[in-house]
Symmetry: C2
Subunit: 172 residues, 2 copies
């Protein structure tokens, strides 16, 4: 199981970035996202995507992130531009255990750097937690997202021109 | 040369997502971002990152995107969840020519689907243009971002614990 923990979410400022983080978590093979701040709007948004596009992805918001981290049994990865190189660190993670990936908003408490087993950087340049999560999950799962079947009511047929969409839900 | 063209940028709604798109373009090996809507704030923001963290990345905003596309000599890639599979399409792109990557905000005019040589999906699930651009550039450049030297005034030393930053600018 792979769970993404979003820390420091501010409803008005981060709504779109956190939504992208959640959608990337889902599309790139995580099982669930936990967001520290309660945010019903993001919950509804992500649940609506799951209903239409399928899969078993879960979302929970309004959770004490310290408790999650303290009680976590498996490895904890914190994605940060200050962390150790991706290729170097990723080999050290025990893939037989459940993984918690912490993705911070702008400022992350130093406590998280200490509690994480792996502080990992996807490049040491400033860019985006959305991109960092996608590339991390791509590497961690060896690109498994490319074969994943979501069996949703809506299915997109890859096409070089135009939009090909199969809708299996006649009531939609 | 790799240029990213951001189409449909709305200043208030997209400022953070477009900033992430620009930072990802820079960190993952593109040479420049062109944004259709004039946005001085994003320009300043990205220029400030470049000044501090180095590299030759350029930004231009307030540009007629149709003109850019029409006059482009090399291949044009449009990243979209409706596109052809990444692994399949990427092999077809002529890497000896300058590449234009079009990254749309929510709604993209059908014209772009037609004008693009390659409509490419990074998975056919809804997620994020930020993630799509990062994974596309990672594949297109064969992960070259991992070796790139930016020679900035600020340099981050990868570390599994804490933040190690080298600052070469005493006036900062």
């Amino acid at each position: 199981m792979i769970i993404v923990l979003r820390v420091g979410h501010r409803i008005s400022r981060d709504k779109r970035i956190t939504t992208h983080v959640a959608l990337v978590a889902r599309a790139f093979g995580a099982d669930k996202i936990i967001i520290d701040t309660k945010d019903r709007h993001i919950e509804e948004n992500i649940c609506s995507v799951c209903k239409r596009f399928g899969g078993d992805f879960k979302i929970e918001t309004g959770v004490d992130y310290k408790k999650i981290i303290k009680q976590w049994k498996g490895p904890i990865v914190h994605l940060t531009m200050y962390g150790e190189e991706l290729e170097k660190s990723i080999k050290k993670i025990d893939k037989n255990k459940d993984l918690l990936i912490v993705v911070g908003a702008e400022k992350v408490p130093p406590w998280i750097y200490r509690e994480a087993d792996f502080n990992i950087s996807v490049g040491n340049q400033p860019h985006s937690e959305v991109a960092a999560l996608a590339v991390f999950l791509d590497r961690y799962t060896n690109g498994r997202w490319q074969e994943e079947q979501f069996n949703g009511k809506i299915e997109i047929v890859p096409s070089n021109k135009g939009k090909k969409v199969i809708s299996k839900d006649k009531d939609r």
